[in-house]
């Protein structure tokens, strides 16, 4: 909570991080983890058959993987840190303190991964000189595929932790955080999904890079599709395993949420989209095994896109059901620790927020103060007029009848009971009233809320600049 608030009112914070993260996950699953084993498989097939066409094709596919992963793939990975630090510094800062050594090891693996992909790619043209050089070269590929998978294996631990930290609350150690209850099922699920996605993506590119009606294309389809079909079977099993460990309160609370009627319908549809998507991928696979090389390339592209959509939807659901927490039972999505609630409810958040411009609420500054409260408690998820805009929510609830601050306040007070994904309001009663007054004022004249990157921060006052806390004796000067 105690950070200057970055905010883009048009796209909102959640979308900012979602665009970056989903792009990263798609590239990571389809091009890094899933594609590299296939490149190695094709290189190996080339050695086995003594046919240079396999080798040429594998090299062309690797070039695609190389360009995509070392530019947009790597950058969106770093971008998750950049955007997370802007969107919710309290959360990412806490995760970094817990998982520092996990990330540090991941960095070493990442350095090895990038070095290996350069080694594997750049030494390819020279590797064709002799059979021995070729076999040695293939080893780089195997190592590269392994390291790519390990980076994911580490990151998945952190993602699982955010959903369900398990017994970390009691032990607070890295190991307790790492082996959270969600870890292994999610890793198994993502691994098989990545392999299927890699298979479909590489098949689409491979189709593009080969000629029509050749036995070579048939062989290619058979090789990639057998590999992918095996993983598709595993994907169905691991998806079931994963869904079985999602904490019951996360699944059960979706229908509780008012106004998520649309969402619950969507969730039910999502299950069918998932099944239909998997069936389509399965059909493409079996069909191309039955008549290899005869399938239209567009079908592979479609299957790859279907998988991308499924992964994107999966990430969305995963993000959504974690709420109201950003770190399970430790920190709410607004960046405020559960443990800080009693203090903030008693004294009010404005009294403790370093970067707030208003400290005391009077009858003449309620709207201004309410806007400050909105900034501190709502803007991590809501905008005023953009994506997930609060104004649109109010229109949905109250339509064009006059918005009444008392009605809104009555709602805010209990909203977390009905909408499970909303954190309870963290401030005191006066702040709740001021927030309601501000929200009601949005009906007539809604000004977008600008973040500190535009407006800057207020001049520090006695609260911002001081080191001690109200009635508590100053611990620093005993």
């Amino acid at each position: 909570m105690d950070f200057p608030i970055f905010h883009i009112d048009f796209i909102g914070n959640r979308l900012l991080i979602a665009v970056d993260a989903i792009l990263h996950v798609l590239i990571n699953h389809a091009f890094a983890i899933g594609a590299l084993p296939i490149v190695v498989l094709l290189e190996y097939t080339g050695i086995r058959h003594g046919d240079p066409r396999w080798d040429t094709l594998a090299y062309r596919l690797l070039k695609v993987v190389f360009i995509v992963t070392t530019t947009v793939g790597a950058l969106t990975g770093v971008g998750i840190w950049f955007s997370a630090a802007l969107v919710n510094p309290a959360a990412i800062g806490s995760l970094i303190r817990v998982f520092f050594w996990g990330w540090f090891v991941e960095w070493i693996v990442f350095v090895s991964e990038v070095s290996l992909i350069m080694l594997y790619f750049l030494s390819w043209p020279n590797s064709t000189e002799s059979a021995l050089a070729k076999r040695r070269h293939m080893r780089f590929g195997v190592m590269l595929a392994a390291f790519s998978w390990i980076t994911m294996a580490i990151i998945v631990a952190i993602l699982g932790f955010m959903m369900d930290p398990g017994d970390w609350h009691e032990r607070q150690s890295l190991w307790a955080g790492l082996f959270n209850p969600m870890y292994l099922p999610q890793l198994a699920f993502r691994t098989s999904l990545a392999m299927v996605m890699g298979g479909m993506t590489m098949m689409a590119f491979g189709y593009w890079f080969t000629d029509r009606d050749t036995t070579f294309r048939e062989g290619l389809a058979r090789t990639i599709c057998v590999w992918t079909a095996l993983w598709t079977g595993l994907l169905a099993i691991t998806a079931w395993w994963y869904s079985s460990v999602v904490p019951a309160h996360m699944l059960a609370n979706i229908p509780v949420a008012i106004t998520t009627q649309a969402y619950t319908d969507w969730l039910a549809n999502f299950k069918w989209v998932l099944i239909a998507g998997l069936l389509f991928v399965g059909w493409v696979l079996t069909d191309s095994l039955r008549r290899p090389g005869r399938l239209h390339g567009g079908q592979y592209v479609a299957a790859a896109l279907v998988l991308c959509v499924m992964l994107g939807q999966f990430e969305r659901v995963r993000e959504f059901i974690r709420k109201p927490f950003i770190i399970g039972n430790y920190m709410y999505a607004n960046g405020i620790r559960v443990a800080d609630y009693p203090l903030l409810r008693r004294d009010g958040i404005l009294k403790h927020a370093v970067y707030a411009g208003v400290r005391d609420i009077r009858s003449d500054n309620q709207t201004v103060a309410g806007r400050e409260v909105f900034q501190l408690t709502c803007t991590r998820c809501h905008t005023v007029k953009g994506v997930n805009g609060i104004r649109a929510q109010l229109v949905r609830m109250y339509g064009d009848q006059r918005w009444n601050a008392d009605v809104i306040a009555a709602y805010l007070e209990n909203m977390h009971g009905a909408r499970y994904f909303m954190p309870p309001f963290p401030g005191n009663q006066e702040e709740l009233t001021a927030l309601a007054v501000y929200l009601a004022s949005l009906q007539n004249r809604a000004q977008s809320y600008e973040g500190v990157q535009v407006t800057g921060i207020p001049k520090p006052d006695h609260v911002a600049a001081s080191t001690h806390y109200g009635s508590i004796p100053d611990l620093t000067h005993p």
């Binding site: 950058l75 510094p89 750049l122 203090l343 008693r346 370093v354 009971g417 535009v454 800057g456 508590i472």
Partner: protein, 433 residues
């Protein structure tokens, strides 16, 4: 101190502070060396390509350099992850604040770097496709270089801003932060260092036996290419020393100390004998270029180390008071939070002894957000519900289990499948009482 004093993340550091600082200095040096080679390489590739319009051999040289750039840029990014992680850990309150204050530009780093990298690949992989349109090819290289030049300015602005919390209230976005004392001076110092390092790197690289065969340069031309890089290294060293002095005099006093001064001058001082040897090589064609090379590299390695340590010392000095104040505030805040938790717990305990109505409790938890005693909130108020369902608890339960939509302009009520029959009964009893 009229400075915003935020609270720190209330979790322990994952390692002793000293260890993290050593890791920060070491990983930062590795990162910045690759960044220098990426930027300098991109500029040299562009320069040689333009020169290549008149003298074709320089075009081949530009291609060779472009190949090195794409390797260096990949390493520059991965090596940057470690210092970023450690800065996030050690300086969370300062770093997140300065990042947010220039948030738009800071976030733009990601797409800008991605575009620059894609341009670098387009420049390299499509080299032969641009035979007939050199303007476009050179344009791509120029755009790539311009992006590589601009991105470090954003970084420099951020790491400068995080050092001076006293400036935070004055900053309104990226451009106002660029104009703070010392950013542009440091930036010029950085760019000349990039030229210096890559010039030295290419002077060494072009001396490898394989180089001549790969680029197909004649022996005399190869010598002049190497002297070309050497001359750049010499000029950049002079610029480094001069711009370093400007940076030194414009450094805000907050971080200065005798230790920092000594380290900075020692670092600059290592450049003086290097200059002497480089000059000797440049004026006297008889001396082989490689004669003093390893000594020069050794001296500059000492410079980098001294500068990196000085940089860290300066940061620690500048933030010393702020870090202390933050630690105090965090400790006091945590004590206040614990105090309030205890108070709330005892209040809850006291309440436990009072009799509670399970129906009222479940109502508050599940229904109160939308159904108020007398206000028309999202759903109908209690009075209205009472009028409709008085004496008909069964009807109310049936509605709750399978709700519909009664009003055109309001939202539909969701079902409550997680509530048991008993709970629903209790709620209905409470509502209709």
């Amino acid at each position: 101190m009229n400075v915003p004093v935020p609270r720190d993340i209330p979790l322990p550091l994952p390692a002793p502070e000293g260890l993290l600082e050593v890791l920060l200095i070491v990983s930062f040096i590795v990162h910045i060396v690759f960044v220098h080679m990426m930027l300098g390489g991109s500029l040299f590739s562009l320069f040689c390509q333009i020169k290549g319009l008149k003298q074709i051999e320089y075009e081949r040289l530009a291609y060779k350099i472009a190949q090195a750039v794409t390797v260096n840029k990949s390493l520059a990014v991965v090596m940057g992850v470690a210092p970023l992680l450690i800065i996030n850990t050690l300086y969370a309150p300062q770093f997140y604040a300065s990042s947010a204050l220039i948030g738009g530009a800071w976030m733009a780093v990601i797409p800008l770097v991605a575009v620059a990298f894609l341009l670098a690949y387009a420049h390299k992989f499509w080299w032969d496709r641009f035979v007939n349109i050199p303007e476009l090819h050179i344009g791509i290289a120029a755009l790539e270089s311009a992006l590589f030049l601009f991105i470090p300015l954003i970084y420099m602005t951020n790491v400068n801003l995080m050092l001076f919390p006293e400036y935070w209230p004055e900053v309104k976005g990226f451009f106002s932060a660029v104009l703070l004392p010392n950013v542009l001076q440091r930036y010029l110092h950085f760019v000349s260092a990039a030229i210096l390092f890559s010039a030295l790197f290419f002077a060494w690289w072009s001396g490898r036996p394989a180089f001549q065969a790969e680029v197909k340069l004649s022996q005399p031309l190869l010598q002049s290419v190497r002297r070309f890089f050497y001359a750049f290294a010499f000029g950049a060293t002079i610029f480094q020393i001069l711009s370093g002095l400007v940076v030194f005099v414009s450094l805000p006093a907050q971080g200065m100390s005798w230790g920092v001064t000594l380290l900075l001058f020692a670092g600059g001082g290592f450049g003086v004998p290097a200059l002497y040897w480089m000059w000797g090589n440049l004026v006297n064609h008889e001396i082989p270029l490689d004669r003093h090379f390893s000594k020069i590299i050794g001296l500059f390695a000492c410079t980098i180390l001294a500068m990196a340590v000085a940089r860290h010392e300066y940061r620690e000095n500048a933030l010393k008071d702020h870090k202390l104040a933050i630690a105090q505030k965090t400790a006091n805040y945590l004590a206040a939070a614990a105090d309030a938790r205890q108070e709330a717990e005892s209040a809850a305990l006291a309440q436990q002894n009072e009799p509670v109505d399970p129906g009222e409790q479940a109502f508050q938890r599940n229904c109160a957000a939308c159904h108020h005693i007398n206000l028309p909130t999202v759903g109908p108020d209690m009075g209205e519900i009472h009028r409709i369902y008085a004496g008909d608890a069964k009807g109310l339960i049936r509605w709750t289990q399978n709700p519909g939509k009664k009003r055109e302009n309001s939202m539909q009520m969701p079902g409550f499948p997680h509530l048991s029959e008993t709970e629903l009964q209790a709620i209905a009893d409470y509502m209709l009482r």
